[in-house]
């Protein structure tokens, strides 16, 4: 008996070894999971995984919503009502999808803030950051195309305003609005193209770029925490003191790679240490999404009524700052607030690693970055708050 169990175990092991060899999984495992992380990598590095988790959640819940949803103005709202009222667990699936979208925006913001504060966009990870900024745009595009789909009042009117904004641009404005709406007015053609982008184009783009992003993360390794990276160099006594110590010699080039290898030597492997933290944060994100659903449910307003004069449109919370920004521009300068400032801010974010050439990574030695970062957060928070209460 014991020997037959023994031989069974042997056979199992042999099958495993065969699979590992024939599939080529072993080198992949070694490159991704068995790779060493630099010393000091902790929970702040886990937001990227939470985002992958949320994207997976959106994909899974989205697939099940698409089983019932019909993207045409005469049935879209009814199909959402059917999901909410008649499909068992339908409200839960839609609730997870709805709050999962907000979670993605929040987690993207935190993930970027961590990379910003840690100077993780610096050599050699400039491209990783730039791909990340494009991913941010895709996440927002998911939000924008997604909230039209229920075809309720909020969906209709927020998209009415949102698709009119590019129309304020000189020259290309008119055609931009037409292409977004599929014509001059919001209707069946708008809904179907938003749906197509939301469920086909954007997932393909996002999925592909996430793979590129992940490849770069594994290829360059995650950045070391600044306090460990610049270990041994005394911290300035006060903020904004960048002169008291000479710049480190290892901010780029071969010196960088030597130091990084040294920090990795003492570090732990990704599996199971960081993987555990990743899972922990992912499940916390899921609890938060469930929590929001249980506390606030999932909104569905009355069916879209293009003649409703009483409805005051509000975009989803993560677009409130853009909505509010428009109020600061008089009519003739609308296109500045709509078509110039947001793209400029986005380009500033995109090309950050190319113009921020400071050799320091610790935020205490990057006063300009700190001030601009805080300023950006304060402005966005202020506009969002104003938009929420107005």
């Amino acid at each position: 008996m014991a020997s037959s169990r023994q031989s069974q175990a042997d056979r199992l092991r042999a099958t495993g070894a065969w699979l590992a060899e024939r599939s080529g999984a072993l080198p992949v495992w070694n490159a991704i999971f068995a790779r060493k992380m630099p010393v000091g990598v902790g929970i702040w590095y886990s937001f990227g995984f939470s985002l992958i988790f949320c994207f997976t959640l959106q994909a899974v819940t989205g697939i099940f919503l698409a089983v019932y949803y019909v993207p045409t103005p005469d049935y879209a709202y009814a199909s959402i009502q059917y999901i909410m009222l008649e499909v068992p667990f339908g409200a839960v699936v839609r609730g997870l999808h709805h709050w999962g979208a907000s979670a993605m925006v929040v987690l993207t913001f935190i993930h970027m803030a961590v990379a910003f504060v840690y100077g993780a966009y610096k050599f050699p990870r400039e491209l990783t950051w730039m791909v990340g900024v494009v991913l941010l745009v895709l996440v927002l595009a998911f939000g924008f195309t997604g909230y039209l789909l229920p075809w309720d009042e909020k969906a209709y009117w927020a998209t009415q305003v949102g698709t009119a904004i590019p129309g304020t641009l000189p020259v290309l404005g008119d055609i931009a609005v037409r292409v977004m709406r599929g014509g001059t007015e919001l209707g069946a053609l708008t809904l179907s193209r938003f749906f197509s982008f939301h469920v086909l184009l954007l997932p393909a783009l996002l999925g592909g770029l996430v793979l590129v992003h992940l490849f770069l993360v594994v290829y360059h390794g995650v950045s070391a925490p600044p306090h460990i990276w610049e270990r041994g160099i005394p911290l300035p006594k006060r903020f904004f003191d960048t002169k008291s110590v000479p710049a480190p010699s290892f901010s780029r080039g071969q010196e960088y790679h030597d130091r990084y290898a040294e920090l990795k030597k003492d570090g732990k492997t990704f599996w199971p240490y960081n993987t555990f933290e990743d899972m922990l944060l992912a499940v916390l994100a899921l609890f938060a999404i469930y929590g929001m659903f249980m506390l606030f449910g999932v909104p569905l307003e009355a069916k879209a009524d293009p003649t409703n004069t009483a409805y005051i449109p509000r975009p989803d919370w993560y677009f409130l700052f853009l909505f509010e920004l428009l109020k600061y521009f008089p009519g003739s300068l609308e296109w500045v607030g709509a078509g110039v400032l947001p793209p400029l801010a986005l380009f500033a974010l995109l090309f950050l690693p190319l113009y921020d050439r400071s050799p320091w990574r610790s935020i205490r030695r990057r006063p300009l970055a700190l001030i601009l970062g805080i300023l950006a957060v304060v402005v966005i928070a202020f506009l969002t708050y104003q938009g929420a209460i107005s």
Binding site: W157, V161, D174, F329
Partner: protein, 175 residues
């Protein structure tokens, strides 16, 4: 260092030609798929709809000097749907025979505005656009006065030629 010593001039010429060929074929494939795909996505959006006069009520519905909202029913083709859509217009009767009819959407970004008798102004709730009774901008972001619509009287009926205009730009452009 790449080893190019073994390549003869003929071989290099052939490689260059093949490289051009690869890009040429790639470009051909991209155009053959891209032109119909993007064309189908963009070109249908450039068409304009037709307009005709539709009833907005009888002349007696409107009192001189008191703006009143009226809903007109417009038959529109929305993609594959033939829709009878309700659209809002605001009618201002200036005298027994003279009217002004405004398209009911704010010229800023297309929200629905309404007449506030207390303030004697048209107010748009979205971004705080304000217009006078004759459609002039009194405040807020609207870049041009309210859009007026063509109208005519047929017997006792007020007929309106409903038309939408491009939003957010200083000039009144039909869409």
């Amino acid at each position: 260092m790449r080893n190019t010593a073994a390549r003869t001039g003929d071989d290099l010429g052939r490689r260059t030609l093949l490289t051009y060929g690869i890009f040429a074929i790639g470009g051909l494939i991209a155009a053959a798929i891209g032109i119909p795909a993007i064309g189908s996505f963009v070109l249908p959006t450039l068409r304009s709809g037709k307009t005709n006069f539709v009833p907005a009520g009888t002349t007696n519905d409107f009192a001189v000097g008191q703006p009143k909202k009226s809903e007109v029913t417009v038959t529109k083709r929305d993609g594959w749907l033939e829709l009878r859509q309700k659209k809002s217009v605001w009618v201002v009767r200036k005298s027994n025979t003279d009217f002004t009819v405004f398209n009911g959407t704010c010229v800023h970004l297309g929200c629905a505005f309404s007449w506030q008798p207390g303030q004697s102004e048209f107010i748009c709730p979205c971004h705080g656009g304000r217009y006078s009774i004759d459609g002039k901008v009194l405040g807020g972001p609207p870049p041009r006065p309210l859009d007026t619509l063509n109208w005519r009287i047929d017997g006792n009926n007020l007929l309106v030629e409903y038309q939408d205009y491009r939003q957010g730009v200083p000039s009144k452009e039909a869409v």
